[in-house]
Amino acid sequence: MDLLPTPEQVEIIDSSATFLADQISIARTRELFESGELPAVGAAAWSAAAELGWFALGLPEDRNGIGCGLADEVLLFREIGRRLAPGPFLSTVLAARVASFGGHQGLSDEIAGGRRVGLVIPGSLDAIGPDGSIVGEVQLVDADPDGLVLTVTPTIAALVAVSSLSDVTEVPCVDPTTRLHRAVGTGVGPVSSVASEVDPVELRGHVLAAALLTGIVEWSRDTGSEHAINRVQFDKPIGVNQAIKHPCADMAVQAQLAYSQSLFGALSVDEGRADAEFQALTAHATAAAAAEFATGATLQIMGGMGFTHEHDVHLYVKRMELLSHTFGMPGLWLDRLLELPEPV
């Protein structure tokens, strides 16, 4: 038992942080979405990420992947979350698996090579059919109109062509860095699909969403604390006040809980533990609650600045909302958590 990153994993963390700072900085993201380019990640940056192998990191080597574990992907996605990188990282990584395990290795290679795949957020649980096709009202996150989107349920994950949907309409997303469409499914069969017994795509998704949210919590903790140290009012740094210091401490606890549970969830999936579903859902629920608390706490600590468009905290608030509605909603996961057997 060891939850410390290995030197190889530290390398993943460091190199991804460097890449994100260089290629997908928040300043650059702001330029892109202010000019209307959504998702607010440049094509060059996306391709560069593909070249780094980000979309094949967790794919087995015999599926043309790098063969790392889900825990390695957690470390990468935590950096992506911390730095607010936009774009369908989550659904693209999962889509490469669906295509490969669904028997379409060529498509998988294409996706791993940089073809973006958006994510389907169903309006109701029955909007996704048993075969992964879309049969009701959905929203599409970061979908390309001529591309594919990923559907995910507890039993199946599938890739569906956007062109097969009807009433595809772009609508502004609460997260301004993200492209959103509404659409209605027509029941056209998916391009590729994989059952959860073959590859637990939904659980991997929960864990990676938890990792993204963990990055948001850590950013909030660090940003709030830094402000508490530097901002002077009444001749003292505001961090001397327990009304500031204690929420910062709570953020530190929440960040550590979200991080450790994301790893626990990832390793549970990697190792095929009997309680993998419980641990993965717990990771998402824990990280979502932590991120709701931490973004709100940091916004409050920042005072008026936190309420402005200029400061980044509102972007983290809005991304948090998006990730808390990915693969369902916290209330839904809690309902499932309670039905599962006691964790081992």
Binding site: G123, V174, F234, M329
Partner: protein, 389 residues
């Protein structure tokens, strides 16, 4: 003790409701540009002409000097129209105006007060600075006397509607050699003066009501000083007692109305699992709690009004109401998001849903603006309970 209103108060409520029903604007208030000011001032002129310019102002300044209970009734009825609690008229009517009444010279009063009440001018506030938030008295915007003028250089922030304003109640530092509260001057700044640069601040929900205001050797006649040079802190504090909490009623009544709308929304919408949202006991209980909390906030207001009607000094209910309101508003509008579920991710799907998203985002400010909740807790702890600083 009595919850019932006296016969004349009931009659007054009827009068107010009848007039408001017939006269409140039916078209939506514009969100941007000069149209905002025009809309608000047209409404103020209409109010003024019907004798509703400001029910709390003394008769000598054109108001009706209504007793506190009728002010409460007026604001309760006003809230029903759905008009915003704070618009471009707010600083003039509820802050700068009352300050002028309390502390300005006769010339200043007779020039400014009628303009405010008649809807001819918009006022804004110039108090906060980037380095002076909760610690307002540490403000640095400098004013030097030069002949019969003050020359002002510095920066203000969080000035609502600065771009729509004619005048500003401005706090400046005129003396650096005395304790920080003692070197501040309260002055009327003409917003068309040369040297003023206004830059809007975009906020979390996309609004742009707030501004930064920069002053580069802006010249203001000494005649515009209210009170004395270096005595501005006491002038700024002199309006606290005005209205004694009644105007806050608008926000409160509208929050309670939001809870009722959310209960309806939860009854009409289905959750992602196909069940009506209201069937989720955890959401239902939080809605019920919000309903109860709104009712309790109203009873607290009534208690505060009862006390204040018998006292010149407002009681601690002001800070208590603000603190409770902030916490409650955040909880209520968070519920809105949860009721919408995944629909809350799309902003303009339909106008109603968008409104809930905006209200949720704006609610983040309720515990910051107008004195943070942390400061309110300090005030209650120290002034009400006598806890040490």
């Amino acid at each position: 003790m009595d919850l019932r209103f006296a016969a004349e108060d009931v009659a007054f409520r009827d009068e107010a409701r009848t007039w408001l029903t017939a006269n409140a604007p039916t078209e939506r208030r514009p969100k941007l540009g000069r149209a905002v000011r025009d809309y608000d001032l047209a409404w103020q002129r209409k109010l003024y002409e019907a004798g509703w310019g400001n029910v709390a102002w003394p008769v000598e300044y054109g108001g009706r000097d209504l007793p506190l209970i009728q002010q409460l009734i007026w604001f309760e009825e006003y809230a029903r129209t759905g008009m915003r609690p704070i618009d471009t008229r707010f600083v003039g009517l509820a802050h700068a105006g009352p300050t002028l009444m309390a502390r300005a010279s006769d010339e200043q009063k007779s020039f400014h007060l009628p303009k405010i009440l008649k809807g001819e001018v918009v006022w804004c506030q110039g108090f906060s600075e980037p380095e002076a938030g909760s610690d307002l008295a540490s403000l640095r915007t400098k004013a030097v006397v030069d002949g019969d003028q003050l020359v002002v250089t510095g920066q203000k922030i969080w000035t609502s509607f600065a771009d729509h304003s004619d005048y500003q109640e401005l706090l400046v530092r005129t003396n650096n050699d005395v304790p920080k509260h003692k070197g501040i001057t309260w002055v009327i700044c003409d917003m068309k003066s040369p040297g003023i640069d206004i830059r809007p601040i975009r906020t979390i929900e996309g609004g742009a009501d707030f501004n930064e205001v920069f002053y580069d050797e802006v010249r203001i006649p000494l005649a515009n000083v209210v009170g004395d040079i270096d005595n501005g802190w006491s002038v700024a504090m002199s309006t606290l007692a005005f209205e004694r909490g009644t105007a806050f009623t608008i926000s409160q009544v509208q929050l309670a109305a939001s809870v009722e709308e959310l209960i309806e929304l939860a009854r009409s919408r289905r959750s992602i699992n196909g069940r009506p949202v209201i069937d989720d006991d955890s959401l239902a209980k939080r809605l019920a709690r919000a309903r109860a909390d709104c009712a309790a906030l109203r009873s607290l207001t009534y208690l505060g009004i009862s006390k204040n009607a018998n006292s010149d000094q407002p009681g601690p209910e002001g800070s208590m109401m603000k603190l409770h309101y902030a916490d409650l508003a955040k909880r209520v509008y968070r519920l809105g998001i949860e009721i919408l579920g995944t629909r809350s991710l799309a902003i303009p799907v339909d106008e109603d849903d968008t409104e809930w998203i905006d209200k949720h985002l704006i609610a983040y400010s309720t515990s910051i603006g107008g004195g943070t909740s942390e400061i309110q807790r300090n005030i209650i702890g120290e002034r009400v309970l006598g806890l040490p600083r």
